[in-house]
Homo-oligomer: 242 residues x 2
DNA sequence: TTCAAAACATGATTTGCATCATGTTTTATA
DNA sequence: TATAAAACATGATGCAAATCATGTTTTGAA
């Protein structure tokens, strides 16, 4: 829906500067030799706004982990309308589904919201790891299960709730998953336009603008894209009712 | 939304009458001793229309496989409106997500559409199996990945398409996944009322009735709940556009 | 600091669908 | 095969949200 100039793949992947490999559960499961092997297979790549990590329809080559930044998963329909399925945060896995098995193609695109850093490894290395380590496999099963539950919860919300409730639910979700507590309220760490929000809750930009104006009047939120602050998450929760 | 008289759990689970344990991929992965152990842990239970296999909010105790019949996964919102997430067919797994891990509760209900037969095993035995057999774990990962993709595809459809397109997409999906080819067209094997369909596409019974009337006039479908026949799946696909 | 592009805002109009209401047909079961 | 309940049908009306249109404000880059 919004024009994106793809800066081409100027992002060469390099070996991961081992060091604080962070709070990524999957990576902390392996120990000893298995862990070494894993780290050796992982490479890091950086992307900026307007680029694509991959596009809908591309062949699946890698398993990915978000290291820094936020990545959005997007699908679009034949007449060009877009729908954002999920915001991936640091520690999130993607393309961990073995649907990537038999030469399948990406069912959606992955785009960074701002600058991001992605860890990735080849499908082969990924499956080798899963075969070798039951703990890693169980971790992935757990992760996929949670993602499935989320997606089904979102199905329910899309099917049953009004636009303002869906938007409230989105703000609550983003606020709790990634918000930064400040004295004025909870600030969302990524740039998020009304259009972005519309794509996430299945409505139009105008509708989101109107609803956000009401929310602002009711002092539920404040600010715009660059600095969005949730002022009363409890009342938003009640509105979303869930 | 629709009143259900729960006949209580008159269904005692028994050992699985080993024999033609069918076309269930997961069960055919294991061999030798592992397979014996698995079969020993599996029990079979039967349910009829109006019963619940489990309810939203119940503690998760078992891992399940559909053996015969159709099971629907349902969620409802605070004011009692229902939404059907998925029709499970023979071979489908459920509660395979290890979200069932830490004493979590069922995020939705499971109800049979007519008579069904369910295979199940305790959470513990299930996780033992996954730990012991990388092949089984990979199979589950593959299955969960497919389910996640389906759920996300449905998100997109709910977010972007009109009611008639969503309904067309539903008919195409059910037709291809479980339809039986007859000379008049493709027959759906389960009883499916307009209300059932409404719950699956996020709309009202009246709207589904109206759209189905149009579809019938255009000779895209014919019949009602007990005997629903898809007469022109190709044109339905085009309508759903996806 | 300027200036164009992007984001936000708001009104007018239309429309898809929900809701309510009432009637007919089909289905299951006594 | 009689009969109540469930499913299907159709009209009238209202409303949430899409669409179209036309501003204003903010932002980021020259």
């Amino acid at each position: 829906m919004s024009k994106q100039h793809n800066k081409s793949s100027s992002n060469r992947a390099g070996a991961v500067p081992h060091g604080q490999l962070a709070q990524i559960p999957l990576l902390n499961i392996l120990t000893g030799q298995d862990r070494q092997r894993l780290l050796h297979e992982l490479t890091e790549a950086r992307y900026g706004k307007g680029e694509f990590i991959f596009r809908e329809g591309d062949p699946t080559e890698y398993f990915h982990i978000v290291k820094e930044g936020t990545v959005k998963c997007v699908k679009s329909n034949p007449d060009g309308k877009e729908c954002t399925l999920k915001m991936l945060m640091p520690g999130d896995l993607f393309c961990c589904d073995a649907a990537a098995f038999d030469g399948a193609r990406h069912p959606g695109s992955a785009q960074p919201m701002g600058d991001v850093s992605i860890l990735r490894m080849s499908k082969k290395a990924y499956f080798d790891m899963l075969r070798r380590s039951p703990d890693a496999a169980l971790e992935v099963i757990k992760y996929l299960g949670n993602r499935l539950n989320e997606a089904q919860e979102k199905n329910k919300v899309l099917a049953l709730e009004r636009a303002d409730q869906r938007l409230a639910a989105l703000l609550v979700d983003l606020g709790t998953r990634s918000g930064i507590k400040e004295d004025q309220g909870i600030r969302l760490p990524m740039r998020l336009t009304r259009e972005d929000m519309a794509n996430m809750v299945g409505t139009t930009t105008e509708t989101v603008i109107r609803i956000m104006s009401r929310f602002k009047q009711d002092d539920l939120v404040t600010g715009t894209a660059n600095r969005l602050i949730i002022r009363d998450i409890e009342r938003l929760k009640k509105l979303a009712s869930t």
